[in-house]
């Protein structure tokens, strides 16, 4: 290191001045970065729903960052819970213990969400559930960190039972998965169906990954119900529908939010899905206040996967978290406190109001039926006009 050449010196000088100039330049424009996390099933059989939610949350962040007057620049950290409680606990512990992540938008699967609520509380991390519908997620305990924009499965079962009674159905069989979610579905289905004076001939519970349903379906065939109620998620639902057909069981399928979405129709095929009913806590995208904006922006963003049923809710939850951070700053405690006061907050799915458990109480349960491979609002379907008929109508 005896001598430094002239050229070397000049280069050094330029190198030391440049960052100074540009540094001060960008400081005037750059916003502080704030990290928020999205958690959902991105691999595995439930992944179409998780990817639809992820895209929608990403879209919310993109649109927010494009707005000129925001205080912060948002970065979405995306994690895969595989719809498994143990994996959910791992990834949530990871984000919750990372203090640079301010808030989370977690979970499609109820069985996963119920396993992680305690962690959010322990690490004091505010979160807004985007899709899981098990009542206990918000109502089992009163955690200030836990909020949810999606509905709870009690309402859809109440409306469903009334709907089936109004059609004149009397004999039901319940078929649910053996997770907390399926058990809860079966519990409220049973309660409301019996309240409506209808009969449940049998209840079946199988693990969500069980392939062979032949023994259960044989028994169901013997019971000969008018309606098979399904309380579970898309893969098992599609498997049930496929194997029902193979056994020549001609019962009406009564579903719920778990099979809502394009994924069910794709998996079962449009012919077999035809006429399947579901009760879902949201009007269709076209009827939502911001539905058209969301659909257009989603299309413009060029995602190849559909947003699925809960995409708009993932968008709303993400947007809500970012709006709160804008208001109170990137501080977990302040965000938690402010989310507790959300009342009549406008969103693309309609106004959001959290009750004292952080549960959104505004979702509107809507009845849907599959018609020509699409979920159609019951009142607008050809089934109402009598052009098409549900199965086994008395």
């Amino acid at each position: 290191m005896g001598t430094i050449s002239k050229r070397g010196l000049a280069a050094l000088a330029v190198a030391s001045v440049l960052p100074l100039a540009f540094g001060s330049f960008s400081a005037a424009f750059a916003k502080d970065k704030v990290k928020i996390a999205f958690v959902g099933p991105l691999t595995g059989a439930i992944s179409p729903h998780g990817i639809g939610g992820r895209n929608s949350a990403e879209l919310a962040v993109k649109l927010m960052n494009a707005e000129p007057n925001t205080k912060y620049e948002y970065e979405l950290v995306v994690l895969d819970d595989e719809c498994k409680p143990n994996v959910g606990v791992q990834v949530v512990t990871k984000i919750a213990s990372d203090r640079s992540i301010i808030a989370a938008i977690p979970h499609y699967c109820s069985a996963t969400a119920i396993a992680t609520v305690d962690i959010f509380n322990r690490f004091k991390m505010p979160m807004v559930v985007w899709a899981a519908v098990l009542p206990e997620i918000t109502y089992a305990k009163k955690y200030p960190e836990v909020h949810r924009v999606s509905g709870i499965l009690i309402g859809q079962n109440r409306i469903g039972a009334q709907f089936m009674k109004a059609r004149g159905y009397k004999k039901f069989v319940s078929f649910a998965d053996s997770t907390d979610y399926g058990k809860s579905m079966n519990k409220y289905f049973t309660q409301f169906t019996l309240e409506n004076g209808n009969e449940i001939l049998g209840s079946f519970s199988v693990p969500p990954d069980q392939q062979d349903l032949s023994a259960e379906l044989t028994k169901i065939k013997e019971l000969n119900p008018e309606v098979i109620y399904f309380g579970g998620l898309t893969p098992l639902g599609a498997r049930l529908r496929t194997q029902m057909a193979k056994f020549g069981i001609n019962a009406q399928l009564e579903g719920n939010s778990g099979i809502m979405g394009d994924a069910f129709v794709n998996a079962a095929g449009p012919e077999l899905a035809e006429g399947a009913l579901t009760f879902f806590d949201s009007p269709p995208l076209s009827k939502m206040p911001g539905g058209k904006m969301f659909a257009d922006a989603y299309k413009a963003a060029g995602y190849s996967e559909p947003p699925e049923a809960y995409g708009p809710f993932a968008y709303v939850a993400t947007r809500l978290v970012m709006e709160t951070i804008e208001k109170v700053g990137p501080d977990r405690a302040k965000v938690t406190a402010d989310l507790g006061d959300v009342k009549d907050r406008p969103s693309i799915v309609g106004p959001v109001t959290f009750d004292d458990h952080g549960q959104n109480i505004t979702p509107l349960t809507t009845s849907y039926v599959v018609q020509d491979g699409k979920w159609v609002v019951w009142e607008e379907s050809e089934y109402v006009s009598g052009k098409r008929k549900l199965k086994n109508l008395p």
């Binding site: 992944s47 079946f204 392939q211 013997e222 194997q243 020549g248």
Partner: protein
């Protein structure tokens, strides 16, 4: 119990799949004293190979029966090659190593196959829809509904079991196989090409897995990367309970396991979630009662 015929048919269908898997285990053990845990994943590989073949045949515009034949041939050829490959490159070099090493090695090969399907097959983590290649529909006898495809598959499964039995007991290759099983050294002295017989034996055992994979895919119209896992455990259990090394034992074990599962759901529908627990507990009792299996391998006659 008006549906007894139906339950019987369900049990037969599942028993055929279990029996075919168990038969593979028993062939490998009978000839090489190997417990090949990658067997279930070879089955999965066969089913996925069949699926790709159907896609290709469909793209070429072949008719449905031809698609079926192509898929079956590809599934069986693929599993045969993989089975022979595993034995030639992995089992043969390790044949003098402790049995535990061999067991671990086959488990790892199975995991590698399974993960490879998950990672490299497009959307491999998701269940794949398998096209329906057999005639749909069926007929009623009393209250029971007999699916045409199920009947075809049961007959095909039984025929394949018969074919394997014939190969082992009445063909020249089977004779050589039995000779190797009996006494490797003497068989070699007698001029039997040891290096060829072993891979061929593993190919034969793996073909049964490929066949079982196709039966599974056609019956359920759905396959996934991890389907071989539970099937391998059940197939292995069936082989043990029937008497490892005895072909009829494996088949009886397979039907027994399916029978137990079906019985639980038929008798107590609300217990359907527990059918595997129930079946495995009863199998434990059976194994305790007869540690060498229902039909123990006869000392002087193997396979």
């Amino acid at each position: 119990m008006g549906m007894i015929g139906q339950h019987l048919l369900n049990g037969l269908m599942q028993g055929t799949i279990y029996g075919l898997v168990a038969m593979g285990f028993t062939i490998f053990f009978g000839v090489m004293n190997v417990i090949k845990f990658s067997h279930g994943d070879v089955l999965t590989l066969g089913a996925f190979g069949g699926l790709v073949a159907v896609w290709a045949a469909n793209a070429l515009g072949l008719s449905v029966p031809l698609q079926f034949i192509v898929a079956l041939c590809v599934a069986m050829a693929l599993t045969a090659v993989v089975g022979a490959g595993i034995s030639h490159f992995l089992i043969m070099p390790l044949r003098n190593a402790p049995p535990l090493n061999m067991l671990l090695m086959t488990m790892m090969v199975g995991t590698a196959i399974r993960e490879a399907i998950r990672l490299f097959f497009p959307n491999g983590t998701n269940p794949q829809r398998f096209p329906e290649l057999l005639p749909a529909g069926g007929f009623n006898i009393g209250p029971s509904f007999f699916r045409t495809d199920a009947i075809i598959l049961i007959i095909a499964g039984a025929a394949s079991i018969g074919a394997v039995y014939w190969i082992i007991n009445h063909s020249k290759f089977g004779l050589a196989m039995r000779a190797v099983a009996e006494d490797t050294e003497t068989a070699r002295v007698m001029g039997i090409n040891f290096g060829r017989i072993i891979p061929l034996t593993f190919a034969l055992g793996s073909i049964t897995a490929g066949f079982a994979g196709m039966i599974y895919a056609l019956y359920y119209s759905e396959i996934n990367y991890s389907m071989g896992l539970l099937l391998a455990v059940i197939g292995f259990t069936a082989a043990i309970v029937g008497g490892l090394g005895n072909i009829w034992g494996a088949i009886i074990g397979g039907y027994l396991f399916a029978g137990l599962q079906t019985f639980v759901v038929a008798a107590i529908p609300s217990m359907s979630d527990y059918k595997n627990v129930f079946a495995f507990v009863l199998i434990i009792v059976l194994i305790t009662w007869r540690p060498t299996g229902l039909l123990a391998e006869r000392g002087s006659e193997r396979v």
